[in-house]
Amino acid sequence: MSQPPLHSTFDSIAALAGAVGRGDVDPTVLADDAMRHAQAGNGPGLFADLDAEAGNRETSDAALAGVPIGIEDRLVTRRWRSTGGSRMLAAYQSPFDATAVQDLEQAGCLTVGKLACAEFSMDSASEFALFEATPNPWDAQRQGGSGAAAAVARRLVMGAVGVDTGGSLRAGAALCGVSALRPGQGMVSRLGVIAAASSMDQVTPVARGAGDLAALLDPICHFDPQDATSLEHLNGEANRIGRVRESWQTHRMAQQAQGSRPLKNLRIGILEGDGDGLSAAVADSMEAALQTLESLGAQRVAIALSADGQAATAYHLIAAAEAASNLSRYDGVHFGFRAGRYDDVHDMIGRSRAQGFGQAIIERILLGTRVMSHGHYEALCLPAQRVRRLLAQSLRQALSQSCDLVLRPALPDTAPLLDAQTSLAVRWARDRYLAAASLTGLPALCFPGAPDPDGLPIGMQLIGPDLAEGWLLAVAECFQDVTQWHQREPEQH
């Protein structure tokens, strides 16, 4: 299509929603246009399910009326099948919508379709997943990491919502040059999340910039009595719709009152040793981001964290243990894939699981089974959970005493080639910057920094204390006001 999507001509969700609210744009025209462009622009690793007649086409006077978004396939929906990226659930039709999906539709969003993900967001190479790997919007030979992030980068939708367990959506945002905010654990309902690692699965919005993230996060950030892990209060503050928006706006007003140094007195913690193992381009981008924040009034302070070097290993052991438990529900009896040939009921279960799961998931299940088995639980699982405790304590202590927010890279390098063969050691090491927020349950916002010399995106990550979602949004937006990296747009392939 020669014309860009109508919604992409607006700089932000607020600008688009404002135009709809004033009657400048007909939301029905917007919906038809978004559907046409999503169908025309769809490709491998993007929309898993897209049906022009099936999307939420109801128009309303709600705050986000007509804003086109995608739903990652880790969240269940009644309209479309819900697969988690696994052949095990290839035909699964949910009898209900995830709470976050309901919330965004009630807020007026046009849900365009389901977006591809790696199998249970774990098989990053997507070698055995239901969907093909997502090509990077900036270089189709490289990994995009996430259908949600790639669809936002390609302007097929204004935003997306999905599930970040060990950093899949933050990594996807970093690779594709967009933003993602993983909220604190317990702040967004997980009802309707296709579970992988329950203590770390977290509903996460993806969008171009921080302002758009605020628009998508606020309606979904509230207590849900139907989710046993949803918090009603945290540190005396009610978990309610409006909390994130009010906090974000309060911080923005405070910044504006500081004039040319809006981040005056903000202490940005930098971890000793974070620079080790970074590519030169990521190290340069990190330093440039710090200098930009300093030019806005922030100051950098060095911090150290206990057990941070073991965080990725601890994450992988805990995630495998939880996945082995969660995925035991797939038995070929109640729902999901059933093998075609078998001898008896035990053989049916074993073959259904071995044929329905991809090899990467099978290996996770076996590792998790080993981690949880007698004798190895004490040697592997408990030490991993002790690392988690040490890291959580030291990160919270640093955020209460030494600094206000922590800045880290999201990934140590730019997007790998789609066919890159990497060892497990390299894959685990790539998760070292993402694991801390997953293990500790603290909020983390990933946003684009300066790209590498070839234009490939590089992502930064701000981690904050409990309830800091609005603060993170305000600081990232202040950064984005002067850098505009989030408005870069890849050429359409």
């Binding site: 495998a320 729902f335 076996l366 089974t369 405790r389 040490l390």
Partner: protein, 98 residues
């Protein structure tokens, strides 16, 4: 801590996975690599530290201990619509007892 073929068979049985030979060979190699990396998690960590199972400990609530009404026929049909095989409102599996 090397995983033998027998170790892998035991693990696969525990995990309910009937692996084909190629799957088992690849999984054994991957598992050995993972367990080699996993040793690092024990280094320098005081065993007196209380393990942290999840970040919301102490803040989670318990559901009220009340019985729920059984699913209506319509709810049951919706819940069973994804089952691979059903008969008369029941999940169908191969014969367990002759």
């Amino acid at each position: 801590m090397v995983i033998s073929e027998q170790d892998l068979k035991n693990l696969a049985q525990l995990a309910g996975l009937a692996l084909a030979p190629g799957q088992a060979t690849a999984a054994r190699a991957a598992l050995n690599e993972a367990l080699s990396l996993a040793q690092a998690v024990q280094e320098g960590v005081d065993p007196a530290i209380v393990p942290m199972v999840q970040p919301l400990a102490g803040q989670l609530r318990l559901r009220e201990d009340v019985a729920r009404a059984p699913a209506s026929p319509a709810e049951r049909d919706a819940l069973m619509a994804n089952a691979p095989a059903t008969a008369q409102g029941l999940f169908l599996v191969p014969t367990v007892l002759e």
